[in-house]
């Protein structure tokens, strides 16, 4: 069925179609309409679930953790400060190997209060053991939430489905909403192998001594290795059912590309027409959009980027003191290539706190890198500082 929904509405419908059984959440801009829609769906009997509006995000994830341990399909959603407040339990959900799905609407962290988008909230949860997937459109949000439940339940790791504040969460788009039967055939009811079971009583949350702890962590890491293949398989299976196949990373005009823009989320939509335009002008540029970020698709990126001349990684985030986060990761993946095949990698940090990344910006960045006007490892884009060396260099050229 075709529907016009916001990114947030897309999340709510996907949760309904996935037949989540427990939804536990606390409101925060710009996530709020996700949980309001779900609360209404539950109240109207459109979703047979228990909806708990708890007193904080910490409790929201706690509710999901215990519901999931009891064998229920559990979902929550949050943003920025809320995700940060969940942090203790973010580790717990992954460590306890619970297939919870969480939608995080990317919002910049305080102070400097901001309700607008950037990726530092979700990327600060990078090392918790969660899988992370970054979406570009409402359609991708619907499809990714449903896929996330499937992958999570296969590999027993939670997934964070990430969408940009406002650019995606509050923008209406035309979406093909899958039929319930299709989703049911794709996503069977959850059978959690280690769920609470009266026949096999067990105590959860025990002390693990040094002779065992590492083995648990090794298993989590192995599950991530396994998950990469599962995301690929599940993306193809979804394609067979709906005609919309999803890849771990999306490539665009990569044939003969000598300069590749690597980015994630809605910046991908902004980039495609810019790539077309530059191609027409004779610049051999291509685009790689990271979709699944954890597990990290290092070998895929090596095969896509190896042998190209230049790579520009656009980050809407920063690991202060060491580059944009996607930039770091792409660079480290490429280090394993033979030296002759290693492209030169430049990073641009742009769009923090919801600042627009316009097609003009992207064109300027890409031509800057192509014409060697931008050669610094990292450039902070469009910052209001005359002292910014990269900006000064640009102004002089």
């Amino acid at each position: 069925m075709r529907m016009v929904v916001k990114g947030n509405g897309a999340v709510a419908h996907a949760v309904r179609l996935s037949r989540a059984q427990v939804v536990s959440a606390y409101p925060i801009t710009p996530q709020t309409s996700i949980i309001e829609e779900i609360a209404t769906m539950v109240a109207k009997g459109q979703l047979d679930a228990r909806f708990i509006k708890v007193e904080s995000e910490h409790s929201a994830l706690a509710g999901c953790i215990s519901a999931s341990s009891a064998g229920a399909r559990a979902f929550t959603a949050t943003s920025a400060q809320g995700l940060a407040l969940m942090h203790e339990l973010i580790h717990w959900a992954a460590g306890a190997r619970l297939p919870i799905v969480l939608a995080n609407v990317n919002r910049a962290m305080a102070p400097g209060w901001s309700i607008w988008t950037d990726q530092n909230d979700s990327l600060s949860q990078r090392d918790t053991g969660w899988m992370q997937i970054y979406c570009e459109s409402s359609q991708e949000v619907v499809d990714s939430v449903i896929q996330a439940f499937k992958v999570s339940e296969r590999v027993l790791l939670p997934t964070m489905v990430v969408l940009d504040a406002f650019f995606l969460s509050h923008t209406f788009e035309d979406v093909e909403m899958p039929e319930q039967e299709v989703v049911d055939s794709f996503l069977p009811p959850l059978e959690l192998p280690h769920k609470m079971d009266l026949a096999h009583p067990a105590a959860l949350g025990n002390l693990v001594f040094p002779d065992r702890y590492m083995e648990f962590r090794r298993k989590m890491d192995l599950a991530h290795d396994l998950a990469l293949g599962v995301w690929d398989e599940v993306g193809r299976e979804w394609g067979q059912l709906t005609g919309r196949t999803y890849r771990i990373v999306e490539e665009y005009r990569m044939d003969g590309a000598e300069l590749v823009l690597v980015t994630a989320a809605t910046a991908g939509s902004t980039a495609r027409p810019v790539v077309d335009q530059l191609r027409e002008a004779g610049v051999p540029v291509g685009l790689v959009r990271l979709r699944v970020f954890r597990p990290f698709p290092a070998s895929i990126l090596r095969s896509l980027l190896g042998g190209r001349a230049k790579v520009l990684v656009l980050d809407r985030n920063c690991s202060f003191g060491h580059h944009g986060i996607f930039h770091q990761e792409v660079k480290s993946a490429l280090y394993d290539l033979p030296q002759a095949e290693q492209p030169r990698v430049c990073g641009v940090i742009a769009g923090l706190g919801g600042r627009d990344i316009t097609p003009d910006d992207l064109e300027e960045m890409l031509t800057g890198v192509w014409k060697d006007r931008i050669t610094d490892p990292v450039t902070w884009w469009d910052v209001l500082s005359a002292q910014d060396p990269a900006k000064a260099a640009l102004a002089m050229s």
Binding site: T29, E36, A39, A43, K53, E55
Partner: protein
């Protein structure tokens, strides 16, 4: 502190920020009462700090010409504790909403009360999450429809006043934002009080609770009896969990040491020596073989 040389008018505490509250929001009344109370106490702006969490109500510090700290959701009292410990000489006021203070930050009230932290806490209770556009709060009456409870709120509400009394606050009052005169006097008394002062102000949200909230609250208003004795905790409790009436006034006021006093006492003991055993003496007592 020497007697203030300057006198203030309520308007002196205004900043050049214009409140972004909706026209008719109850929080305007709280702000005006606070301006007046501060003026009549001649509070020096540079010796006063107002801290808040996040919410419509938590924007208040920006509108008062003192030091202000619009902190994170729910943590006004946790931050107020830090300021008071670092600078006991400052007048510290914490403000915020019912979501901020009763939901996400609910635990901090209990600990501030039992410690008798010398801070004044003004809770602007509109029985809803205003800023996030109208979801059920812990103070929303059972059965009320909100954006997060389509068929009505299934949960019993908390009475913040009852909570404060039961966990050891030494000054507890209930006010109404539409009653400027009494609210001003109440806030003034609260700031003057030595110890933890809790003032729950019913402050309507015209946008998410409708105009009727103001009318409903107003119709229920009732003042304490003339001969009311606020030092009696048991009689204060009688005015909590009210449904048909809304009693305003100072319900409870008691003396007692603040956490600052207690810590100071320990410090004195430690400095005098002898009274506090040394580590060796403790070890010898518990492990004589050592």
């Amino acid at each position: 502190m020497s007697a203030p040389e300057v006198t203030y008018k309520p308007g002196d505490f205004k900043t050049d920020l214009k409140p972004v509250w909706c026209p008719g929001c109850g929080d305007f009344g709280v702000l005006n009462a606070l301006y007046r109370a501060m003026a009549s106490l001649s509070l020096e702006p540079w010796n006063t700090v107002i801290l808040s969490g996040i919410g419509c109500s938590s924007r208040l510090p920006g509108y008062v010409a003192t030091y202000g700290f619009n902190s994170v959701h729910g943590r006004a009292l946790a931050l107020a504790t830090g300021v008071k410990v670092a600078r006991p000489d400052l007048t510290v006021i914490a403000v915020g909403g019912d979501g901020d203070g009763m939901a996400i930050g609910g635990n901090h009230l209990m600990h501030s009360c039992r410690r008798n932290l010398d801070v004044t806490y003004i809770l602007m209770d509109n029985e809803i999450y205003g800023l996030t556009k109208g979801q059920t709060a812990p103070t929303t009456p059972t059965g009320d429809k909100t954006k997060s409870s389509y068929w009505g709120n299934p949960e019993p509400a908390v009475d913040p006043v009852e909570l404060a009394i039961s966990t050891g606050a030494t000054f507890v009052a209930r006010g109404f934002s539409g009653d400027l005169k009494n609210l001003t006097a109440m806030i003034q008394r609260g700031i003057e009080h030595r110890g933890f002062s809790f003032i729950n102000v019913m402050s309507p949200c015209v946008t998410w609770r409708g105009d009727s909230q103001y009318q409903l609250l107003k119709a229920k208003l009732q003042e304490l009896p003339e001969d009311y004795d606020p030092t009696n905790r048991a009689s204060a409790v009688k005015y909590t969990r009210e449904t048909d009436v809304l009693t305003t006034g100072v319900l409870y006021e008691a003396g007692g040491p603040t956490i600052g006093d207690r810590v100071e006492h320990i410090r004195m003991m430690a400095q005098e020596g002898g009274k506090v055993p040394t580590t060796r003496e403790i070890l010898e007592r518990f492990m004589p073989s050592m």
